[in-house]
C-alpha cells in the first residue's frame, strides 16, 4: 500500500476518529464504570472518575435483585434469532424474485416496501395491538416476533436484492439450459454464491430485531417470563431505589455476548467478501 497521506493528515484523521469513537464508546465506558461502583457512590458530588472501592459485587447481586434476569437475556437472544430466521426464510425467495423475475408492478411493490420502512413501529402500535389481540397472540413470544419480522422484511429485501443482482446471470442461464428448475438454481447456484450477502443481511436483521424488540415487548406482552432484556431491566427500578449499578451490569452482560459474536462474524464476513476476489 502506498502512503497516500502525509503525517499531518494522518494525525488529523486519527484525531477525528478519536472524537467520533469517544462519542460512541463513552456511554459504554460509563456503563462499565457505574457497574463497578457501590450504589451510593454514583450520586457523589463532585463526580469522581476513579474511586478506590471498585468491585464486581453488582455482577453477582443483580441475579438476586432480578431473579429472572437469565431468562430475559435468553428471551432477547431467542426472539432476535427467531425473527432473523423467519425474516430470512421470507426474504430470500422474495429478494430473488425481485432480482431476477419480471412481473407486473415490480417497481411499485419495491417502492411500497421502502415506504413501509418510513413508518416507525410506534406509529402502528395501536393497529398492531388490535391485530394481535384479534389473533389471540398478545402476551406470547409471537407478539414480539411477528411485528419484528414484519418491520424487517423491507430492509432485508432491499439489501439482499442488490446483492443477488450482482451474481452473473449467465451462471443461472447455464443451469437453466442444463435443465435445473428455478428452485434448484436458487438452492444450488444462487444461495451458495450469496453466502456473504446472506450474512450481511442476517446480521443487519438480527441487530434490527435486537434493537426494536423493546417497543413490542412493553406494548404487546405482559407475561414476565417472555420479556426480553430491555423490558426486563425495568425491574431494577424498585419502589424505593433504583439499583443503577446492577442495571448497568445486567445491560452489559446481556449485550456483550451478542457483540462478541458479531465481532467474530465480522471477521468471517470480511473473509467471505474477499475470497476469490484476488486472481479470479
Amino acid at each position: 500500500m502506498m502512503d497516500r497521506y502525509s503525517p499531518l493528515q494522518m494525525v488529523g484523521i486519527y484525531l477525528c476518529l478519536a472524537v467520533f469513537l469517544t462519542f460512541i464508546l463513552l456511554p459504554f465506558v460509563e456503563m462499565f464504570m457505574a457497574s463497578l461502583r457501590p450504589l451510593e457512590h454514583l450520586f457523589r458530588s463532585p463526580y469522581q472518575f476513579w474511586s478506590d472501592d471498585f468491585s464486581f459485587e453488582a455482577y453477582s447481586k443483580m441475579w438476586d435483585t432480578v431473579p429472572l434476569l437469565g431468562r430475559y437475556i435468553f428471551n432477547s437472544v431467542f426472539i432476535s434469532t427467531a425473527v432473523t430466521l423467519i425474516t430470512m426464510i421470507l426474504v430470500i425467495p422474495a429478494a430473488y424474485a425481485f432480482a431476477r423475475l419480471d412481473f407486473p408492478y415490480k417497481n411499485a411493490t419495491l417502492g411500497m416496501f421502502l415506504g413501509v420502512n418510513m413508518f416507525t413501529g410506534a406509529v402502528l402500535l395501536i393497529p398492531l395491538y388490535r391485530v394481535l389481540q384479534s389473533l389471540g397472540l398478545l402476551n406470547s413470544y409471537w407478539a414480539m416476533i411477528i411485528p419484528g419480522v414484519a418491520f424487517l422484511i423491507p430492509t432485508g429485501i432491499w439489501l439482499l436484492r442488490s446483492y443477488l443482482e450482482k451474481i452473473p446471470r449467465e451462471l443461472e442461464e447455464a443451469a437453466y439450459v442444463d435443465g435445473a428448475s428455478r428452485i434448484y438454481i436458487l438452492r444450488r447456484v444462487v444461495l451458495p454464491l450469496a453466502i456473504p450477502g446472506l450474512i450481511v443481511v442476517g446480521v443487519a436483521v438480527f441487530i434490527g430485531a435486537y434493537a426494536q424488540q423493546f417497543l413490542f415487548a412493553i406494548t404487546f406482552n405482559q407475561t414476565r417470563e417472555y420479556q426480553p432484556l430491555p423490558a426486563g431491566i425495568f425491574e431494577f427500578i424498585g419502589y424505593q431505589s433504583v439499583t443503577w449499578n446492577e442495571m448497568m451490569a445486567a445491560a452489559l452482560v446481556g449485550v456483550l455476548p451478542v457483540m462478541l459474536i458479531f465481532l467474530f462474524l465480522q471477521k468471517y464476513l470480511v473473509a467471505g467478501l474477499t475470497a476469490g476476489a484476488i486472481k479470479e
Partner: protein
C-alpha cells in the same frame, strides 16, 4: 438425426427489431458458425435456438419437431457461454456433473460419464480443483465438459474463445474442430472473429443488422460473396473498394471506368446493371501485385512487414480512402514512395448500388 431448421424467424425487444426473417437449414453433424459485427443479432439468434429467449414470430425445428415452446433441456441442446459460466463454489467434477445431478443420475453413472468427458478433454487430474484455480483454457474445457456429459443433439457455443489470449485461441480452435469430429454432433458456434469462422466452419452464416447476408461454405463466402458486406467482412486484410461507372455490360463481361482514369474489362455477368450505373469494384489485397507499367498508382503511407507477407497501406489518386495491398514478404517498397499495382481481371468483384454482387464467371475454388 439432429437437424436444425429456422423458419421466418423474427425477434424484437419492445419496439427494437433485432432479427428479421431468418431462414436457415442446418444439416445433421454440421459445424455452422454465425459471424457478424457486434450487435448484428448473432448471439440473440443463438439464445433463441437455446430457448433462453422466445421468438417473436417464426419457428425453430429440431429433428423436424417444432420446439418453440420447449425448455432448453427438452430441446436436447447444450450451451457453452462466453464467460464459461462455471460455478465458482463447485469443484471441476461437480461443475461437469451438474447437468447429471439435475437429472438425479446415480453416483456411479455420474462418475462414469464425468470420467469419460474428462478424458476426452484431458481434465482427469483437475477434477478436484475449483474453477478459480484453473487457467483460462482449462476453464474453457470444463465448460465444454459440462456441455458434453448430457450427450445433447446440438451444441451451442457463444463466443467461447473470446476471453482467451491469441496463442491459446489457436490451440482451442484446433481442439474444437477435433472435438466436433470425435463427437460427430451438430454444432452451432457464434463468433465475431472471421478467422474462427473460416477455420472451423462447414458453413458460415454471415449476419448483418439482424438479417442473413449469406449462408455458405467458407470458400464460397471468400470467392463468391453475394453482397458487398460479406465481401468486406470476410478476408484479412479487408477487401478494397473503388467507385466506378459501368461503360458497357453484357452477360459475359462488364466494362467499368474507375474515376475516369482506368478502364477495366471484368469477367462478370452484367445482366443486372446498365451503362452509366455506379458500381463498387472490389479487389482483395492479396490479389494485388506490383507492376512496372499501368495499374493503379498508390502513394505508400504505411508498411507492415510480417515476414511472409508485406502489407502496404496507401492512397490512390486524390482519393482519401486508404487502400491496402498484401505483397510478398521481400517486396521492394519504401514508405512515402509511389508504386503501381495491378491484378488479373478475373480477381475483381463488383457490386451494384444495392450492394448485390455481380456474378463472377471465371472463378474456381475447392469445396469440401
Amino acid at each position: 438425426m439432429a437437424t436444425l431448421d429456422i423458419k421466418n424467424l423474427a425477434k424484437s425487444f419492445g419496439s427494437v427489431d433485432v432479427l428479421h426473417d431468418i431462414n436457415l437449414s442446418i444439416a445433421d453433424k454440421e459445424f455452422v458458425v454465425f459471424v457478424g459485427p457486434s450487435g448484428c443479432g448473432k448471439s440473440t439468434l443463438l439464445r433463441i435456438i437455446a430457448g433462453l429467449e422466445e421468438v417473436t414470430s417464426g419457428d425453430i425445428l429440431i429433428e423436424g419437431q417444432n420446439v418453440n415452446t420447449h425448455a432448453p433441456v427438452e430441446r436436447g441442446i447444450s450451451m457453452v457461454f462466453q464467460s464459461y459460466a462455471l460455478y465458482p463454489h463447485l469443484s471441476v467434477f461437480e461443475n461437469i456433473a451438474f447437468p447429471l445431478r439435475v437429472q438425479k443420475l446415480s453416483n456411479s453413472d455420474v462418475k462414469a460419464r464425468v470420467g469419460r468427458a474428462a478424458s476426452i478433454l484431458q481434465l482427469q487430474d483437475k477434477l478436484s480443483l475449483k474453477p478459480g484455480q484453473l487457467s483460462g483454457g482449462q476453464r474453457q474445457r470444463v465448460a465444454i465438459g459440462r456441455s458434453i456429459v448430457r450427450n445433447p443433439k446440438i451444441f451451442l457455443f457463444d463466443e467461447p474463445l473470446s476471453n482467451l489470449d491469441a496463442a491459446l485461441r489457436g490451440d482451442m480452435r484446433v481442439e474444437l474442430s477435433q472435438l466436433h469430429r470425435e463427437l460427430n454432433a451438430t454444432m452451432v458456434y457464434v463468433t465475431h472473429d472471421q478467422v474462427e469462422a473460416m477455420t472451423m466452419a462447414d458453413r458460415i452464416v454471415v449476419l448483418n443488422a439482424g438479417m442473413v447476408e449469406q449462408f455458405g461454405t467458407p470458400m464460397e463466402l471468400y470467392h463468391r460473396p453475394e453482397t458487398k458486406f460479406v465481401a468486406g467482412f470476410i478476408g484479412q486484410p479487408n477487401m478494397n473498394f473503388l467507385t466506378a461507372k459501368v461503360t458497357a455490360a453484357s452477360a459475359q463481361e462488364v466494362r467499368v471506368d474507375l474515376d475516369g482514369a482506368i478502364t477495366l474489362a471484368l469477367p462478370l455477368a452484367g445482366d443486372t446493371v446498365q451503362v452509366g450505373d455506379p458500381v463498387d469494384v472490389g479487389i482483395r489485397p492479396e490479389d494485388l501485385r506490383i507492376v512496372e507499367d499501368g495499374g493503379f498508382e498508390m502513394h505508400v503511407d504505411v508498411i507492415e512487414r510480417l515476414g511472409g507477407v508485406c502489407i502496404v497501406y496507401g492512397r490512390i489518386g486524390a482519393n482519401e480512402t486508404r487502400y491496402c495491398a498484401s505483397l510478398a514478404g521481400d517486396a521492394r517498397v519504401t514508405e512515402g514512395s509511389m508504386i503501381k499495382l495491378a491484378s488479373d481481371p478475373a480477381n475483381f468483384h463488383a457490386f451494384d448500388r444495392a450492394g448485390r454482387a455481380l456474378h463472377r464467371l471465371n472463378v474456381s475454388f475447392e469445396t469440401e
